[in-house]
Amino acid sequence: MNREPLSVAHRLLDEQILDSEGRRCGRVDDIELRGNPPRITALLVGEGLYPRRLPARLRGLARRLAGPERWGANALRIPWEEVDEIGASVVLRGKAEELGLGAADNPERWLVRRLPWN
C-alpha cells in the first residue's frame, strides 16, 4: 500500500468494499481505532452498526428496529491487515465468503437466483 497521507473521513469511512475477486460486499460502516497514538486496527461492516451512525435522537429508535449489535453476525470486524488497496474502492486481500462479508447476497438464500436472466 502506498504511504501517502490519507484523510480517513474523506476517503475511508462509508467507502465501498470489494473482495479480491471484485465482488461488492459491503461498505465501511465504522472504523476501529486502538492504541496511543490511535491506529486503525479494523474496518467495521454490517447493518447492526447502522444505528450508531445516526444522530443521537434517532439512535434509540433505530436500535429498537434493528436489534442489538451482534459481533460476527450483523456486525463484522475486518482486520486492517486484510486491506489490500484503497483506491476508487477499498479492496480486500481475501474472498468475501472467507471474511463473512456479503453473506446476504449468497444465492442459496434467494429464490430469485432461478430467474432466467443470469
Binding site: 461488492r24 461492516v45 445516526l54 476508487a88 456479503g102 430469485v112 430467474l115 436472466w117
Partner: protein, 406 residues
C-alpha cells in the same frame, strides 16, 4: 460513416427514458393553458439535466461511482439515509406513474379493463428485462421512443405562428400561481432524479472508463438537444390545438390527439406508440434506479450485468419495487395525479441528489484532470441555486393551485 452511425445510435439509446409521463403530462397541459409561454422553462430544464447527466456520467466513468455511491461518501450515513428514503419514495411514485401511463396507452390501443393492463404492463416489463441484456433494454426503448418525432412533424405541419413560438423561448414570469406552478412542473419534469441515477449506474453496467468521456459529452449535448426538441414540440402542438379552444388535456390520450389531427389514424398510432415506449422505458429506468440506489447505499452487489445469481438482493428489491408500484396504480389513484405528485416531490428531493455529485465532480483528489472546469462548475452551482429556490417553492405552489387544478 459507420462510426457516425454508431455514435448516433448510442446517443439515441441513452435518450430512452428522458421523455417520460411527467414531460408528456406537464408539457401538454402547459401548452393548453399558456400556449407557447413556457417553452423557455422546457429549455432551462433540459439544459439542467444535460449539465448534471454529463457530470454524473463523467464521475461514473472516471471513478466507477454512480450517484448513490457518491451520496453515501459525501453525505455520510445519516444524511445519506434521508436522501435515500426521499429518493426511493419519489422513484416509487414515478414507477407507479409510468406504469399507469403504460396501462392507459394499452387501454387506448386495445380496449379492455384498466387494471388488467396495469398487471400486464408490469409482467411485460419483467419479460423485457429477463430477455434483453442491459444495452438491449436501452436500445429497445431508445430507438422505439423515437416515434415521438411525430410530434415534431405535427408541429411543423400545423404551421403555427413561429414568431409567437420564438417569443415563448424568452423567459417571463407572471404573478399567477398557476403559471409559476407550471414553471416548476415543466422544469422538474425534465430534471427527474431517476434519470441521473439510471444514467450513472448504466455507465458502470456498460463498463465505462476514461475513454468513454467523449461519448458521455455527446450524449449530454446532442442527446439532450434532441430530447429538448421533442419536449418543446409537445408544448407547441398542444398550444396550437388546445389553447384556442380551451381544452384541458387532463388525460394521457389527449396528448396524442394533435398527431391524429395532423395525420389521421396513422398519426395517432405513431404518437401512442411513441408515448408507450417512452413511458415504458422510463418505468424500467425509474424502477432500476430505486434498486440501484438501495444497493449502492448499502454496499450490496448490484447490476443487470451481474444477473440474479450474483446480485440476488438487487434483483429481489427490483421486483418488490415494481410490485409496490403496481399496487399504487391498482389502488385507483389517477396516474396523471400520481405523475404530478412524483414530479413536484422530485423537486424537493433534487438538492440532496445534486449536491454530493457537484462536490465529487469538482474534487481533484477523485477526478484528477477530469474534475469540473469553469463551465461545468459555474453551470452546476447556478443550477443548484435554482433547484434550491424551486424546491422551496414547489410544495406551496402545489397547495396554492390545488395540484394544478387552478
Amino acid at each position: 460513416m459507420k462510426t457516425v452511425l454508431k455514435i448516433a445510435l448510442g446517443i439515441i439509446a441513452a435518450l430512452g427514458g428522458f421523455l417520460d409521463i411527467g414531460d408528456i403530462v406537464f408539457n401538454t397541459q402547459a401548452g393548453a393553458l399558456f400556449r407557447y409561454d413556457l417553452l423557455w422553462a422546457v429549455v432551462l430544464g433540459t439544459l439542467g439535466i444535460a449539465v448534471y447527466a454529463e457530470m454524473c456520467g463523467r464521475v461514473a466513468a472516471v471513478t466507477g461511482r454512480p450517484v448513490f455511491d457518491v451520496i453515501r461518501m459525501r453525505l455520510g450515513f445519516g444524511l445519506g439515509l434521508a436522501a435515500l428514503i426521499a429518493s426511493t419514495a419519489v422513484n416509487l411514485l414515478t414507477v407507479a406513474a409510468e406504469l399507469g401511463g403504460l396501462a392507459i396507452v394499452l387501454q387506448l390501443l386495445f380496449d379492455a379493463e384498466f387494471s388488467l393492463f396495469v398487471v400486464l404492463a408490469a409482467i411485460g416489463l419483467v419479460i423485457v428485462v429477463a430477455l434483453l441484456p442491459f444495452g438491449g433494454i436501452e436500445r429497445l426503448f431508445g430507438y422505439c421512443g423515437l416515434l415521438m418525432i411525430v410530434f415534431v412533424a405535427t408541429a411543423i405541419n400545423q404551421g403555427p405562428d413561429w414568431g409567437a413560438v420564438a417569443q415563448g423561448f424568452v423567459p417571463s414570469l407572471s404573478s399567477s400561481t398557476l403559471y409559476l406552478y407550471f414553471v416548476v412542473g415543466v422544469f422538474a419534469a425534465a430534471l427527474m432524479p431517476y434519470e441521473v441515477h439510471f444514467y450513472s449506474s448504466g455507465a458502470v453496467e456498460e463498463h465505462w472508463d476514461e475513454s468513454s468521456l467523449k461519448e458521455n459529452r455527446l450524449n449530454a449535448i446532442i442527446g439532450y438537444a434532441l430530447g429538448g426538441v421533442l419536449a418543446c414540440s409537445l408544448v407547441v402542438v398542444s398550444g396550437y390545438l388546445f389553447h384556442p379552444v380551451g381544452v384541458d388535456p387532463s388525460d394521457l390520450g389527449t396528448a396524442a390527439l394533435p398527431a391524429q389531427n395532423a395525420y389521421g389514424e396513422t398519426g395517432l398510432l405513431l404518437a401512442l406508440g411513441g408515448i408507450m415506449f417512452c413511458v415504458g422505458g422510463a418505468a424500467v429506468d425509474s424502477s432500476f434506479s430505486a434498486s440501484y440506489n438501495l444497493a449502492q447505499f448499502l454496499g450490496w452487489e448490484w447490476g443487470r450485468y451481474r444477473g440474479p445469481k450474483k446480485a440476488p438482493r438487487f434483483t429481489a428489491s427490483w421486483l418488490v419495487f415494481l410490485f409496490l408500484a403496481m399496487l399504487v396504480v391498482l389502488s385507483g389513484i389517477n396516474p396523471v395525479e400520481i405523475t404530478e405528485y412524483s414530479v413536484v416531490f422530485a423537486v424537493v428531493a433534487l438538492p440532496m441528489t445534486y449536491l454530493p455529485v457537484l462536490m465529487i465532480a469538482g474534487d481533484r483528489s477523485f477526478m484528477g484532470d477530469h474534475a469540473n472546469g469553469p463551465i461545468s462548475r459555474t453551470l452546476g452551482w447556478t443550477y443548484f441555486a435554482l433547484i434550491l429556490v424551486l424546491a422551496l417553492a414547489a410544495l406551496p405552489l402545489l397547495l396554492a393551485t390545488n395540484g394544478g387544478g387552478g
